[in-house]
């Protein structure tokens, strides 16, 4: 029995069945269609958020050699529910001299791009809430609205730490958006489309999948992923680093660095508004991991059970890597952060675009095998050389005198 895309097609059929119930009333049918496109997405990602907070706390606890949440439910699995109830009943404190309207609007505005962003992800074969032709571009466009919301939160709180956190967030998000988009450009160039489904289709070896041979069908769903190509591998690493910064995840969590500026733009938020910030942050982390999965890790394609299950597996694996990084790496300094984006990541991403272009023409000229071999040897060699040269160029000059700290002593 062929289980490929089984769940996707069943879900689509279920949706069509529900819609068909309202065939007599066309206006209601549209409303039902809109609800079917949005509600399951919102609910399932809320569930994923709840699960991922538990996962993160457990994972960090494992890294730090302590048990983590283990009181509520089995393995502490009901901890997110307890947290949610606690957050709901907490007092909502608004600073007296804050900008009341913007203080209220900021979490709402942060939630919006996160929720719209997940709509662009191709979750499975035909499972797309917003099947836009330029979905990838739209995703990045909507993602840039995050910056505004974070700035709003920082500014409206009327608190020095909040404003500092907001400014840091704006600087960081704008800087890292450039390597993020530049490393995604390679995939768009090769796939020749901004449509998520077409990008996934470009990562499946369609000749192998339709061949009937079991082994070829198995590997046809894997070997076409862009991460197995030289430019794709480099691009994925650049993309993931920039995505960590875009989602304000560690080691780039400077905007809310608690040892330096209390909690950045979250300082003056309490109760459920704080919870909404938390939710929006996790969901945008999910959304950006989902785009990374779509662009580089083959989207929903995978052996035996391609479709939604594989997408979920890949999404949570990327999230697990984020947790792992958070438990392992120390936070960056502000100047290191900006320098890394502008002086190191961006030039390498631009060079990677050229490598992808050369690969494209080499593949057309001499076939895939030679292009792959040449790409891995020469393309990666060029990237390695560029990285070495850049790190030499960026070395800070040796200080002649001993550094004097004005305020630390």
């Amino acid at each position: 029995m062929n289980l490929n895309n089984f769940f996707d097609h069943k879900l689509l059929e279920l949706g069509q069945w529900v819609e068909a119930l309202f065939n007599d009333i066309p206006s209601l049918k549209i409303a039902v269609h809109i609800l079917l496109c949005t509600l399951p997405l919102v609910l399932s990602f809320m569930g994923a958020f709840a699960f991922s907070t538990w996962l993160e706390r457990k994972g960090l606890a494992r890294i730090q050699n302590r048990p983590g949440p283990n009181r509520v439910g089995i393995f502490g699995l009901l901890q997110p529910v307890a947290d949610g109830i606690k957050m709901l009943f907490k007092e909502d404190i608004v600073p007296d001299r804050s900008d009341k309207l913007f203080h209220f609007l900021a979490p709402v505005l942060l939630m919006m791009p996160a929720m719209v962003g997940i709509g662009f992800l191709p979750l499975g074969d035909g499972l797309n809430s917003l099947p836009f032709d330029s979905a990838i571009l739209f995703f990045f466009a909507v993602g840039s609205m995050n910056t505004i919301a974070v700035f709003m939160a920082g500014w409206s709180s009327r608190n020095k730490y909040s404003l500092l956190g907001g400014m840091r967030a704006v600087a960081q998000m704008i800087s890292y958006e450039i390597p993020l988009v530049l490393s995604a450009v390679t995939v768009i160039m090769i796939a020749g489309s901004l449509n998520g489904q077409e990008i996934v289709a470009s990562q499946q070896l369609s000749g192998w999948i339709g061949s009937g041979n079991i082994i070829q069908e198995f590997f046809g769903q894997i070997l076409g992923w862009h991460i197995f190509k030289p430019w794709g591998f480099a691009g994925f690493i650049f993309f993931f680093i920039a995505a960590l910064a875009e989602a304000n995840r560690s080691p780039f969590d400077l905007p809310e660095a608690d040892s330096e500026i209390i909690a950045g733009h979250l300082t003056e938020y309490s109760g459920f508004k704080y919870a909404i910030f938390f939710i929006a942050e996790y969901i945008s982390a999910f959304a950006i991991s989902g785009i990374a999965v779509t662009l580089f890790l083959g989207g929903w394609s995978g052996p035996l059970l391609s479709g939604l299950p594989w997408f979920i597996i890949k999404l949570f694996s990327l999230f697990a890597v984020m947790i792992w990084i958070r438990g392992t790496l120390p936070r960056l300094r502000v100047d290191q952060l900006m320098g890394y984006a502008w002086k190191f990541l961006m030039p390498l991403a631009i060079i990677n675009i050229f490598i992808a272009g050369l690969y494209y023409f080499a593949e057309q000229q001499w076939g895939t095998m030679i292009a792959l071999a040449g790409g891995w040897v020469f393309g990666f060699g060029a990237l390695q050389l560029a990285a070495m040269g850049l790190s030499r160029l960026n070395k800070s000059p040796l200080l002649k005198e001993k550094r004097v700290y004005q305020f630390a002593e």
Partner: protein
Amino acid sequence: MSIAFFILAAIAILGAVMAISLRNVIHAVFSVLMFFSALAGLFLLLLAEFIAAVQVLVYIGSVGILMLFAIMLTTKVMGDSTRTVLSRGSVWGGLAVGALLIGVLLPFLSKPQVAPDSLLADYNPSVQELGLVLMDPYFASVAVIALLLTAGLIGAVVAASSASETNEP
């Protein structure tokens, strides 16, 4: 579709009016951003996906942030709330702008309306089409603009680096 148009148009007009009437500069910037997002929605209604995405990316993501940065460099965020905005000059200015707008729109308003469905039948907007149009007949102008932007970028870097050298104690 027309309901969505009227909602978006109302938001756009509200944002534009608030942008010029609010006394707090940050509030004014956010109402400009509201106007921009309503405009992106209007582009979406016209099936111009790519333009809508670029509208959000460039105007909300970049121009808005640029304006906020410019405001952060100033010390006074609140304007003078006692002074009234309306004076006789603004009335005449508003009338003149309105007359100009109607003068521009009049030829199109007097024409009979084209049924949208017949236009939509063979209209298939895609980014690929746009790219082909931009890169084939207008390639020279796109290349010139790219060169100009690069020159501007390098100029900005040069200006910034020389300024920091002179400012050093």
